[in-house]
Symmetry: C2
Subunit: 341 residues, 2 copies
């Protein structure tokens, strides 16, 4: 005798009436509805999700999968928390909850996704850090679960995605450096097969070409997306006979390790080496010199992700009639002191 049964007994009505009153169904007298709502609030009643899910066939929850093991997961600074906030703002409008699903380090991400959707823990999913070939997409597509990816992938599908403008950032960074007179411009990209690395590198190559500069493989540095990776980048740069005069980073925290390594060699960012970082974060503003980078609103990105996901779910398609969203998220240049050289 718990839950709705107990509540119904207290009020001397049937459980059906309680359910209808609480779910805002029209065919309940206003008086009864008020009594039920008051009693529910008083005893802190909320419907058991298992019972509701089983009956309705949905969970009213959206899952956001993150990976704990990878570089990209572990070093994301404040990226995800900001995005979660925005996603939730969208979901809250529809009384949906966001549940974050952290894939264990030692579990295969694809298997994890499979397990979560087979258990019907969530109605829809958001996956991030897409790889060039990403089998999670295959699993989600085959399961016919609504999903959106934060990041493009070469794995085909008709799913929606939103991705940061890696291409545009790389191009504008190169253009800006060329305009300032730089001719030997290095680039740092991830050492794993996360898709954004390929896009960033393409943007870099295209920008070089557009500026009449030749692409030199020795100026491409593949380093882990972490402060340590930045340190390694600095180390490699310092060891070069013919050091480039500028470097474009694909991840903002690389700057921290890079700055440190340059300092150890008596070099100053912005004077001895122009640096353009990636995403603006608290770190970029408080480094000395401040980091030239690109701004975006994580919350707005999260809001858009949530909306694009809902747009792909038939039940919400009329509220968000945008169809299948595939969108490059713009980022705005924030000039700093690090590329004055």
């Amino acid at each position: 005798m718990t839950g709705i049964k107990f509540l119904a007994q207290q009020l001397n009505v049937s459980i059906g009436t309680v359910s209808r009153a609480l779910n805002g169904k029209p065919d309940v007298s206003e008086d009864t509805r008020q009594r039920v709502i008051a009693a529910a609030a008083a005893m802190g009643y909320a419907p058991n999700q298992a019972g509701r899910s089983l009956r309705r066939g949905n969970t009213n929850a959206v899952g956001f999968m993150i990976e704990l093991g990878s570089d990209t997961g572990r070093n994301n600074d404040n990226f995800f928390l900001g995005v979660f906030d925005g996603v939730q703002a969208t979901l809250a409008r529809h009384h949906l909850d966001l549940i974050v699903l952290p894939c264990p380090t030692d579990e295969d991400p694809t298997q994890y996704v499979q397990r979560m959707i087979a258990r019907r823990l969530v109605d829809a999913m958001i996956i991030s850090a897409t790889h060039r070939k990403d089998t999670r997409i295959d699993v989600l597509r085959d399961a016919r679960i609504p999903f959106i990816t934060l990041g493009r992938s070469a794995t085909p599908g008709t799913h929606p995605w939103i991705d940061l403008d890696f291409d545009g950032v790389a191009r504008r960074a190169v253009d800006r450096l060329v305009a300032a007179g730089h001719r030997r411009i290095a680039v740092a990209v991830p050492s794993n097969d996360i898709n954004l690395g390929f896009i960033f590198l393409d943007g870099y190559r295209n920008a070089l070409a557009a500026n009449g500069l030749s692409f030199e493989p020795e100026l491409v540095f593949r380093v882990p997306s972490s402060e340590q990776g930045g340190y390694q980048l600095g180390h490699d740069l310092c060891a070069m006979a013919n050091r480039p005069s500028a470097v474009v980073l694909n991840y903002e925290l690389l700057a921290l390790g890079l700055y440190r390594r340059l300092d150890e060699s008596g070099l100053t960012p912005g004077i001895d080496l122009a640096v353009i970082g990636f995403r603006e974060g608290p770190v970029s503003r408080f480094l000395s010199p401040t980091l030239t980078c690109f701004r975006l609103s994580l919350r707005d990105l999260g809001i858009a992700l949530g909306e694009a996901l809902l747009a792909s779910i038939p039940a919400y398609a009329d509220v968000y009639p945008q169809g299948i969203v595939r969108r490059i998220w713009p980022m705005e240049l924030v000039p700093g002191e690090s590329d004055r050289a």
Copy 2:
């Protein structure tokens, strides 16, 4: 016709037999068990969690609540991701899943907890960033849900907790600075009523007293736990007529803003002002000068959190016979260059 029913029909057995086979019940012939397991794997069957939860009365999931809105939440995802990993390592041994529950910015945390447990989304909870008075604890206690807090609180209860050694860190930092000759030592604590601030400040006061130094209120700086807060701290320090020679931080990222602000005034950490940070992270190692701080293994902390939580759940108490854990988590000093002054 889905799920277990479909599977049973394919195999020409009853759904009861399928369930028993998959759940490792003894009274199933080995031959049948193998056939069922093979078929389940082939069609990617996993029991619908709603059906299972409803019947069993549990969810096999543990919730870890984080707050997106607060300073403490927003600036800590490197902290949490490491802890999640450890918690999951413990839970995985028992086929329990970790589900992260991010409380929306605009929802009251206590109400959020109430809603999550009333819905029976998880069997047990971990809450973090405990406040001095924390009504979430009251709600969880009243609901008789097993839970553990990452952080102590003045709110009473018989629940387990694990907390970082804020007291010990503050004392050792002061002792170390005094040993190096410092007499005017400032401290930075959070500007909100998160409990760790009170503990840290107490440790600082006690250490001053133990070293025969008097406590001066003007040397206590209440700043937000963020890079910006560190910048503000630097600003306040630079404005003082009689500047302290050292400062102890309660949050590692304060160092970043502090370094920047000192730099703007032509001051160098470790020369003009000794700085001892809090938790060792990638940032502390790559700052110039490197930050003297304190080390802990986030994964081990997470493992211990998971174990202590399970120890408080009757069904697991025999595996983890440690009773109600209330434990101060030790942190190890990592000398850096920032307190050489």
